[in-house]
Symmetry: C2
Subunit: 394 residues, 2 copies
């Protein structure tokens, strides 16, 4: 199986030993504690599950700047984005060397991790600006990721962490949340040798399904891991159980046995486009995928990024040899009326827009809400049925 990034074996930061876990949970209650940002909590969950291997904890400013500026930490190792625990101030910490990090996303702010404090540093305005500019390619405060990053405060607490739980992700999505450890175990159980991962946070229509089939066929993969971003529901989002059911039905009906699995991970999306694409690839290698599908405007938002920036960055900026996982560079896919099949749009130069079956999200939701299945060139009937049942229940 493909090795994790930076080590031979995955070294998740979750405390698996139950006795040790109990001991730390008790210790945590007597430690000075801080409620961390939602982003930091997401990072803790990712480190807990082994996705950010071999990272042991939150970066100090030098490492964070290195990650932002050249995806390289001070020890020369590769990491594509800063992973920081930024606070408004460190008053509650004082000179404590060991602190409890509390989860902002769960009622009562339970301890999500214990940190051995190695440094408490002030991040200058300049440094915040450089990191923002490098990671997001913009400092526009209207950019949702930029706004979130800069709302955290400028006191960086850094040091290794021991993770005690997976926040609300595991408890609220018990059938779907997976650690990188689990996905590696399951890939091994499936016996897959070449595994492509697909990122989604929505139900998959025919174009997405065919993109996965295309990637598997062209790459010669024997396994597909559909890996869903789990998180708080935003207005207009389809609830997780409905999305999961739609995706599982698609897999059941349209993928051969032992070729696909449906899983999820918990993280606060950065909307950092190209840089986030590199992070996405990074943690897919850690979960055991050999290939990762990068689509048009992957992890982008608005029009901050060029359509294929999230692809060219792998050639232009990722240090050679930093990642073993390979990218499947994709474009949007859609049904071609001329060819009567789903095609990758950039591969059919002779097509005009009208040659494709394209429906806006708004149009699709409207149809489903009216109990109307989108055309078969757009949606599988089994998937449409599940979504119609949901929209009609609203």
């Amino acid at each position: 199986m493909i090795k994790p990034v930076g080590s031979d074996e995955l070294q998740p930061r979750f405390v698996y030993d139950v006795a040790e876990h109990d001991k730390l949970s008790k210790e945590a209650e007597s430690l000075p504690s801080v409620v961390i940002s939602s982003q930091a909590a997401g990072n803790a969950v990712m480190m807990g599950g082994g996705y950010f291997n071999p990272l042991k904890g939150f970066m100090n400013v030098a490492d964070a700047m290195g990650a932002a500026e050249k995806m390289t930490l001070t020890d020369g190792s590769f990491f594509p984005v800063p992973v920081m625990c930024l606070l408004d101030n460190a008053d509650a910490i004082g000179d404590a060397k060991r602190i409890a990090l509390r989860d902002p996303n769960v009622d009562g702010n339970p301890v999500i991790a214990i940190m051995d404090v190695e440094a408490i540093e002030q991040v200058s305005d300049d440094q915040m600006k450089i990191m923002t500019e490098k990671v997001y390619r913009t400092t526009d405060p209207e950019h949702v990721g930029v706004a979130a990053f800069n709302s955290q405060g400028q006191t960086a607490v850094s040091g290794p962490i021991q993770v005690l739980n997976f926040s609300y992700f595991q408890t609220e999505f018990p059938d779907t949340f997976r650690t990188a450890v689990e996905i590696r175990n399951e890939i091994s159980e499936h016996g897959w040798k070449k595994v492509v991962a697909f990122q989604t946070r929505n139900p998959m229509h025919l174009a997405h399904e065919e993109l996965c089939h295309m990637a598997m066929e062209r790459l010669g993969c024997d396994g597909l891991v559909i890996h869903m971003l789990l998180g708080k529901l935003k207005k207009g989002d389809i609830p997780a159980p409905v999305r999961d059911a739609a995706i599982r039905k698609m897999v059941e009906v349209y993928f051969p046995p032992n070729s696909a699995m449906v899983t999820g991970y918990g993280f606060d999306m950065l909307y950092a486009g190209p840089r986030e694409a590199v992070l996405h690839a990074y943690f897919r290698q850690n979960m055991g995928a050999t290939h990762f599908i990068i689509g048009r405007d992957h992890a982008g938002v608005g029009d901050y990024y060029g359509a294929f920036d999230a692809q060219t960055i792998f050639e232009d900026e990722v240090p050679k040899g930093a990642l073993e996982i390979e990218m499947f560079m994709a474009d949007h896919t859609a049904w071609s009326k001329k060819l009567n099949k789903v095609v990758m749009m950039r591969e059919v130069d002779d097509h005009e827009k009208d040659d494709f079956v394209l429906l806006s999200g708004t149009k699709v939701r409207e149809m489903l809400g009216n109990g109307e299945a989108p055309p078969k060139e757009f949606s599988r009937p089994e998937v449409a049925k599940i979504l119609i049942d949901y929209y009609q229940s609203l």
Copy 2:
């Protein structure tokens, strides 16, 4: 795929809808609440994950008596043991119709489920005695299961529940705990048609491995679900991460790709022998297994049960047609020095005890502690290595 017991689709009692889950969690804080017994909490976890389908909640006394006396509830449906929420008293409930059930096994006693109270009844001494006698085949207070059952109090609160979490099982065993829903999903992803389940709470040595191979071969199964009982560590137990690693290594090396998966469930063992074997079979059908291995003295303790009572009960007491899952009735397996392979002991009439390679648990632990691998007729070297590393670390 095999249908669950009692319904076409699994109806787990966990609240999967995140918005509803949030709402109920908030509501729970304002409800009258009781800390339930560890056994009741285990039952809530099982109902949450769909394992006790189609049970909707805790049984009233009539249903519990029916389950104990003839494995049949008042509505005629089948259930092999009482599933009760027994309290010392119902003072904290008053005449509330909706209450929060708190988890005794997690610090702070968080709410594990909400119950719609349908009845609060006193269980008479006679009824306790009958249930004990029927379920455990003894009323000996020295029997660990009998003692636990009778230590809960005699006030039965009954009614349907909505489950909010999986107690400490999911949080402490994040890579192994599975709901019945998840196992069904994974069986479907594997594409298995005939699936045999194997119950264990220990690392598996060669005899256990070969028992699974034997069952798969004789039954023509394409899938094996190793299903571990998860729980608090008892003195002398091997910690979960070590056990898991040993079992996963065995699967990796000695089972073909796409033929086995390693999973766990959370429950307080009853040690009820035959009756528990029926319960074990019941919830394996719910998780999608078509076959279940019942060994010698399955789920027994001490010498309360005959060696094959847990097998004959399926013929003698389980109502015809109650279960669709089929049993693979096994005996102990061991290496035969005469035949140079692992055999099922009752199938080799001509063997004396000395013809087998048999080692006591104490002897095996002693060898491992000395850094000595048990003979290859007993342990796979890869498995022994993991266990030696653990014992030497003590």
